[in-house]
Amino acid sequence: MALLVILTASACQGPVSALDPAGQGAADIAWITWVMIAGTLFFMALMTGLWLHAVYRRSDRPLKLSNTTVLVGGGLVLPLVVITLLLVYGIRSGHSMLPIGAPDLEIRVTAYQWFWEFEYSDDQGRSLTLVDELHLPLGQRIDFHIDTADVIHSFWIPALGGKMDAIPGRTNTLRLVPTRAGQFGGQCAEFCGARHAHMHFAVTVHEPEDFQRWLDTAFEDAP
């Protein structure tokens, strides 16, 4: 049992794991994921147990539980309570991940078949375009403005938070807040044709000062 736990725990680690969060959104979601997994296991055990009891119970006599109790309790009250709690939590948590309030950094993301372009710019009119390589500052609110040059793609850095599709004709905005420095992976999550499987990109989260230093040199080097 302990082995299993260790095994699962180590299995959750990884540069692209949503269960090994390094961002605010991802951490929130990872937490509710574990809660929901626990709930799922509980209800599975409950339903399986009830079924096994109903079919294989020893006594032939009907259970002393009125049918209405069973139907109202199990069919209405139980699920209604659970989903209400879940929905309220989901609303709050989802709302907190929206791009509300000014960001600290904005990055334009353009998806192509089959690579990513990331464009940084600053108020002095300097700009910089990277391909399949993303650098982010720790602890800052970063808005990604995502669109596509061809088909639908989806921008996803599992360790930092949820994904957002790149849809022709629109620009979608995704807010991420990294909370741990390090190397992570991102990838295209919407099937986009032949080389969809290879549409990865590398993400590096720097300490804020390191990031500023990196950005300045990168602007200098940019053509």
Binding site: S17, P62, N67, I91, I152, G162, K163, A189
Partner: protein, 834 residues
């Protein structure tokens, strides 16, 4: 009747209902034959889909595998999903319903046997298009939901996507035929005394499922038609640069796609609701509750579709409506589960092989349902969407909620269907292999998704922590396959070499178990009067009624294939249906329709046009066969009852068929209007350069003419009822129908900009074209009705030939007025657009 008389009676019936041998089999229309064909063909597709999944699992077993390249893999996973959803799951439930519904409801056949034969041929031909393409290496490769613009002409220039759009639309024709057939049958064609409240739950489930298909499939068909037109003629419905919107496709697809999941699940739940009472040895607990739950599911499942689109950038509150509805739909499902549990608690359950499979269903489906609730939570969905978590979830739902109940059902009903006795041991082995194999494939696949593996990738690198998860899934997949092989082997052995089954081996209470094992082609020698929901438990006389000819319609004295029509609610017999015999017309019509589709596939539009005209001709020829050429008095229906023949009553099945057909059509139309308004409201790149030009005159003319056409039919019905000739009315309808279609065609040609220029022009042209076709068909129907009248098919008492097209014309007038109002009014109302 003496035993000798009875025997002779049964022989005559067998002769009357027989399917001709040899080539004549192609003319078969009997519901048992057609139902079995559906079932067998869908199982063939299941095997194909299963083999494809083995290729997928083989490729993904290790990182960086060279076994398949992306071109092959993309075709394989697309075909796997497409085959499993459209060619296995839906047709299998159709086959089961076609086969069983008359047996459950106490009828000799469905009300439109030829329509189901037609559906079978459409399914076969449409499925063949996909298979041929797969073996030719040009199978669809954009995923089973075919998102544009990946599937559009620019990014998928090959024939692959056309194969999907055309093949699947062809198969959907059969789904629509099925839906119309089943709604009309469940409402009208039952045995005497089977009021709605005495209907076995399966009847309710199928009624709601069929109604969901009526409303659910038109969006998909509309989407496919629009996308195919975009690909073939460059009308930019989904092209963002020209005022279209790729998200429109997603809305249309999932507006179909989510209800589809319930369309697959409900009939499986129906089978569960039939089996549990038998093994609990008591009637179901909470029949009322289950009926309410089915109805609620039917509605609510249409409010969930955006949960497939949580990451496309729709504002948060909009997502919450769908998130809430997606969670709420858990309630009707929970009601069903607790009703089943309560039934088992109240009864004396007997463990048996089907019950073992039902345990598998419970375990797996509950898990799938719970992960479904997880996915309905918006933030979680942002992470899990489009990962292997979803793949795991959907297989838990589909295999748990659909395959397992049907495996149970196979063991349960096989004695009835084949006359062979049930066996235990091999079935148990197969169960454990399938159960363990399934969980070994998919349980940890949830984790695979959460640690970051997106779905639909043909390969993955090392070092991301996905290796052993995938390897384990692949091993599990092969155990699962061995399990399925064992299951089918067991079935085949039993069909070949099993002993004969006793009658009603499980001591069940529902009507189908009173039939011969296997049932005769006419099912019932005589149709019983029912006073209970479980007649075999509560009614001592049913067996006598059915077998000794004491029920309704006990003989073949008129030389017709007959069954009862009843009042939809009370179940009181109100007419005698005359069923049509074998015919090649369904096959011919479907084949000609195939010419239309194949012509389109290869861009041979002249061939397509010829095919369409020929198919219309064949359909009219087919319609010609129905009806009577003289008035009949009420006929003896047995048990002292005299009933009119169906062509002479008001609500004959044909009338219901037209009503349901118009609901299908109306849903198509409403979806089209939704698309029209949607593009106005949210598509990028609006407004277009030019809105509809003037054209008021043609519009007014078209509107008035369509009203007059409807009025013409009304007149015809009135004068016919009064014993006069309907010809003046029909003449008016014919003329005005033509005028309306010409005026609309003129508008398309003159008042709308070229449809390739902007999505606005494209969707407006499409809308007007839809109206023009309807007006034209009204005219055709008027001419047809006049011919029918000339040949004596119509009289004051036999007015169906006038009343059915009257419904069509009234519908046409209504949609024309609404459509023209929008087309003409919207530009001036909203001016520059949204």
């Amino acid at each position: 009747m003496t035993p000798a008389q009875l025997k002779q009676q049964r022989q005559e019936m067998a002769r009357l209902y027989a399917t001709p041998p040899g080539w004549g089999r192609l003319a078969a229309v009997n519901h048992s034959v057609i139902g079995l064909r559906f079932i067998v063909l869908s199982l063939v597709f299941f095997i194909i889909g299963g083999l494809l999944s083995m290729l997928i699992r083989a490729q993904l077993a290790i990182p960086g595998n060279q076994f398949l390249d992306h071109a092959a893999y993309n075709q394989i996973f697309t075909m796997h999903g497409t085959v499993m959803m459209f060619l296995f799951a839906i047709p299998l439930i159709e086959g089961l319903a076609l086969y069983f519904i008359p047996k459950f409801l106490g009828a000799r056949d469905l009300c439109f046997p030829r329509l189901s034969a037609f559906g079978f041929w459409c399914y076969l031909f449409g499925g063949s298009i996909l298979l041929v393409a797969m073996f030719a290496g040009v199978a669809p490769d954009s995923g089973w939901f075919m998102y544009t613009p990946l599937s559009s002409g620019q990014y998928s220039p090959g024939i692959n996507s056309d194969v999907w759009l055309i093949g699947i639309t062809f198969v959907e024709v059969s789904a629509i035929a099925f839906a119309i057939e089943l709604v009309a049958t469940v409402l009208k064609v039952r045995s005497g005394g089977m009021s709605l409240n005495r209907m076995p739950l399966w009847g309710w489930y199928i009624l709601i499922t069929a109604l969901m298909m009526v409303v659910g499939f038109p969006p998909l068909i509309l989407g496919s038609v629009l996308l195919e037109i975009e690909r073939a003629f460059s009308w930019p419905f989904f092209d963002a640069a020209l005022g279209g919107d790729p998200l429109l496709w997603q809305h249309l697809f999932w507006l179909f796609g989510h209800p589809e999941v319930y369309i697959i699940f409900l009939p499986a739940a129906a089978a569960v609701s039939m089996m549990i009472p038998t093994f609990a040895r008591r009637p179901i607990v909470g029949y009322h509750w289950i009926v309410a739950a089915i109805i609620a599911t039917g509605f609510i499942s249409f409010g969930l579709w955006v949960h497939h689109m949580f990451t496309v950038g729709i504002p948060h509150l909009a997502l919450l409506f769908f998130s809430a509805a997606s969670m709420f739909v858990a309630i009707p499902t929970a009601i069903q589960f607790f009703a089943w549990l309560a039934t088992l608690w109240q009864g004396k359950p007997v463990p048996s092989l089907p019950m073992l499979y039902l345990f598998g269903f419970l375990f797996i489906f509950v898990c799938g349902g719970l992960t479904g609730v997880m996915l309905a939570l918006v933030p979680f969905n942002w992470q899990a969407h489009d990962t292997y978590f979803v793949v795991a979830h959907l297989h838990y739902v589909l295999i748990g909620g659909f395959v397992f109940p049907l495996l149970a059902a196979a063991h349960y009903w096989l004695p009835l269907m084949s006359g062979k006795a049930a066996s235990e041991s091999m079935g148990k082995w197969a169960f454990w292999l399938i159960f363990i194999g399934f969980n070994a494939t998919f349980l940890h696949m949830h984790l695979t998704g959460l640690v970051g593996m997106p779905r639909r990738i043909y390969t993955y690198p090392e070092g991301l922590g996905w290796e052993w998860l995938n390897l384990a899934s692949s091993i599990g997949g092969f155990i699962l396959t061995i399990g399925f092989a064992a299951f089918f082997l067991d079935l085949i052995v039993r069909l070949r070499a099993g002993g004969d089954s006793p009658r009603n081996p499980w001591a069940a209470g529902t009507l189908e178990w009173s039939l011969d094992h296997p049932p005769a082609p006419y099912n019932f020698t005589a149709l019983p009067e029912l006073t209970s929901r479980e007649p075999l438990w509560d009614q001592d006389d049913v067996d006598d009624q059915i077998r000794k000819g004491e029920g309704y319609l006990p003989d073949t004295r008129r030389g017709w294939q007959e069954t009862l029509g009843v009042h939809p609610v009370t179940g009181k017999p109100d007419q005698i249906l005359i069923l049509p015999g074998p015919s090649y017309l369904p096959l011919i019509t479907a084949a000609l329709l195939g010419v239309f589709f194949v012509g389109f596939l290869f861009g041979l539009y002249w061939l397509s046009a010829l095919g369409a005209i020929a198919a219309l001709g064949a359909a009219l020829r087919w319609a010609w066969c129905n009806g009577l050429t003289r008035d009949f008095d009420d006929q003896d229906a047995g048990r002292g009852l005299s009933l009119p023949l169906a062509p002479q009553v008001h609500d004959a099945p044909g009338w219901w068929g037209m009503v349901v057909g118009l609901v299908v059509n109306g849903t198509f139309y409403i979806t089209l209007l939704f698309g029209y308004l949607y593009l106005w409201a949210v598509a990028p790149a609006w407004p277009p350069e030019q809105f509809v030009e003037s054209g008021r005159l043609a519009a007014v003319l078209a509107g008035l003419a369509s009203l007059a056409c409807s009025g013409g039919f009304h007149l015809a019905v009135r004068s016919n009822a009064a014993g006069h000739s309907p010809l003046p009315g029909l003449g008016l309808a014919l003329l005005t129908g033509l005028v309306a279609s010409l005026a609309l065609a003129w508008q398309i040609a003159h008042d709308v900009a070229s449809p390739t220029s902007h999505a606005y022009a494209a969707v407006t042209s499409f809308l007007l074209g839809y109206l023009a076709v309807h007006a034209f068909l009204s005219a055709v129907m008027a001419g047809f009705a006049a011919l029918r009248w000339r040949h004596g098919y119509v009289s004051a008492r036999r007015s169906l030939d006038l009343r059915v097209p009257r419904l069509w014309a009234a519908y046409t007038a209504a949609v024309t007025l609404v459509g023209l109002g929008l087309v003409q009014g919207l530009p001036s109302l909203l001016g520059s657009g949204g």
